[in-house]
């Protein structure tokens, strides 16, 4: 193995791969990258895997001599990151990977690459061609609500439903829900190859709808490598896994095999009190008032009636705070609700419009949050469960 590559080109490709390396070491070989270089195609390929997710980055390099090896992922990232912005020369000699740049020399011991798990093959013949931008946006609206409770694997992913007319992503941790639903033509198209192959496609799409759960680690990786210049995302859905092909990356991911719980039952769209308010003004006020909120439950309280919207908090040990907002429109009777300020801010960050619509009922009913849009064109629905008052 012998090649040369610009430091910037290499680091840009491996910088996000490191997030795939498993945190808990289950098998020592997985702390390594599998590196393959091919002189004929002039491509360098680096693979990282935690068994559930495998990511391949493939990009051009000046390859003089083909070869394969495995080296410590952490070390390679740190070494390349430390190099000056110049050409990096990589050369495998016996069991050492020699990495040279300017007058800097590293010798990195290689691991036994034959131990690396088998990489699935990259077969895009059944792929859907999708809009990367739309996919990116849908994940951005939902990923923050994913649960980190590993006891409940099904909630650690985003639920993705595809029907002939629309598709939907949703996530919940039981305390908040985020859902986005968009009509999907023209963005979700089968590519030319797939049309010839209808029989096989029905496995994944069927006639009605599919529901798959995307692991949060997979979507987080896709979010990191998102590049607004690259418009196409190819997706292959199989029974037990996804394959995503995007820019220089191929991502193989397991599917969380569960039925997603019926979170929609919790939605109450016709709550009696409705507020329309400037989103930034609301966020600023919440951030300010929450400086005094208790650290354990992060409680703040909304008291709203027709001409007064008060945000308040109080903390037995430290003090209290309140701010009254006057510029808003309101439809309803006086209402109040106590909520976790961090949760409500995470939702407001995902609201697209300048004004945000809040709906609330009794202090025990959820707070519903929407974009400023007519109900029929409403794409996103957020729900936040209150704190007991």
């Amino acid at each position: 193995m012998k090649l040369a590559i610009e430091k910037k080109d290499l680091i840009n490709h491996i910088m996000h791969l490191a997030s795939i390396i498993p945190g808990k070491i289950t098998s020592p070989i997985l702390t390594n990258y599998l590196i393959q270089v091919d002189a004929d195609s002039g491509l360098m390929q680096i693979t990282a895997s935690d068994l559930e997710i495998t990511v391949i980055a493939q990009f051009p390099a000046l390859v003089q001599e083909s070869g394969v090896t495995a080296v410590s992922a952490r070390h390679l990232n740190e070494i390349i990151n430390s190099m000056p912005d110049q050409m990096v020369y990589i050369n495998k000699v016996d069991d050492n990977l020699k990495i040279q740049c300017n007058k800097i020399d590293f010798n990195l011991l290689c691991a036994d690459h034959t131990l690396f798990p088998i990489i699935p093959s990259r077969d895009l013949s059944n792929a859907y061609l999708t809009s990367a931008e739309e996919f990116h946006r849908m994940i951005a609206k939902t990923a923050f609500a994913v649960s980190n409770d590993t006891n409940r694997a099904v909630l650690t992913g985003i639920c993705w439903q595809i029907t002939p007319d629309w598709h939907l992503m949703a996530a919940t941790d039981g305390r908040k829900v985020a859902e986005i639903k968009v009509p999907h033509s023209p963005w979700l198209n089968r590519n030319a190859h797939a049309v010839d192959n209808d029989g096989e496609l029905s496995v994944s799409l069927g006639n009605d709808s599919v529901e798959k759960i995307l692991p949060v680690k997979t979507v987080n990786f896709l979010q990191k490598v998102y590049d607004s210049d690259v418009k196409e995302l190819k997706i292959v859905i199989e029974n037990n896994g996804f394959m995503f092909a995007y820019a220089d990356y191929t991502v193989f991911s397991h599917i969380i095999e569960h039925k997603y719980p019926d979170y929609q039952k919790a939605f109450i769209h016709d709550l009696p009190n409705s507020v329309l308010i400037d989103k930034e003004a609301l966020k600023t006020a919440i951030k300010r008032v929450s400086l005094m909120s208790p650290a354990d439950n992060m409680r703040i309280r909304f008291d709203i009636d027709a001409d007064r919207f008060e945000i308040s908090t109080f903390n037995r040990e430290e003090g209290e705070a309140k701010q009254v907002l006057e510029s808003f429109s309101y439809d309803g009777t006086s209402a109040n609700i106590s909520i976790n300020h961090r949760f409500v801010l995470s939702i407001l960050d995902a609201v697209d419009t300048d004004k945000v619509k809040l709906k609330l009922g009794s202090a025990k009913e959820p707070l519903m949050i929407y974009n400023e849009q007519q109900p029929e064109s409403q794409e996103i629905t957020f729900l936040l469960m209150p704190l007991r008052s």
């Binding site: 409770d149 006891n151 305390r175 039925k259 019926d262 979170y263 919790a266 729900l383 007991r388």
Partner: protein
Amino acid sequence: MRKIIHIDMDAYYAAIEIRENPALKGKCVIVGGSPNSRGVVSTCSYEARPFGVRSGMASSQAWRLCPQGVFIFPNFKLYKEVSEQIREVFQRYTDLIEPMSLDEAYLDVTENKIDEQYATTIAHRIKQEILQTTRLTCSAGVSYNKFLAKIGSELNKPDGLAVIPPQKAQEILFNLPIEKFYGIGKVTAARMKKLDINTGKELHDLPMKEMIRHFGKTGLFYYYVVRGIDNREVITERNPKSISCEDTFDRDIDDLTELLELLKQVVSRLTNRMQRKQINGQSVILKLKYDNFEYITRTQNIPYLTNDPDQIYRTAELLLIQNWDKNRKIRLLGVGLNKLDTEIDDQAEQLVIPLSFDDLM
């Protein structure tokens, strides 16, 4: 200073049975399981006590100690009715009532409905009124905290009344044998005796650090109560911390199929009760008692709150299979749930969506 009264009915179940059937008067009345069953003694009359009969003892053993004893199967419905009458008496004086069981309660009479300054007077009147209403006697302890009130009701049993004012507390506590301390059971008492602690005085002499080292958090409780400090409130509505059901078999069993069948029945009784009371739990406890009365308890958490019989059964089944020493016969199986929503609700302020999941994981 608070004014707390502890009322403890005298040989309650036995006394009721004697009231119902005066022919039993003066006899050794033993309420509980029958001596040829595997039941235990719930209560016995004072006449039976010199023979060594005690609550919680196997009925068969009680019968050996006291063969002339009259064994009566408990009639809980009746006992509950009488307790209701007693509670009505309490309610004439205060609403701050904490029933500990059918025959025992704490009352906070610091402020009371008859504006009586002396708790002792109230205790007298309660004793009298209970006697008039139910023809039963009780013992009362009057003091400035729950622990001392409880000690007081024990002092002159039966039909006693003891007042422990602050200036008398130390003397009484110092002379109290260690096993008479409320909350110190046989096991802890034995451990204390090993440390040469036999009386309240010796308990008092143990430094706080040592107390915590030997007895953990409860050590701290002992440290304070032996100094006459007990700030526990009289709690009127008590949320259960756990709920459980158990079954002592009429013979010892070592057949897995049979055990699983019985386990299913216990679980079903438990979940029926939970559903009736609308309680959910998040942690399953299995209790196994072997034929030599040794027992183990094992716990398994469920990732969410439930009272679903299948879910609880599956968890309990796994616990049984994993923990049963198959060379030994089982005498009793019990299943319970911890981490109840009644308890969690008090702290968990964040409301959550009641999501339902299809499976265990």
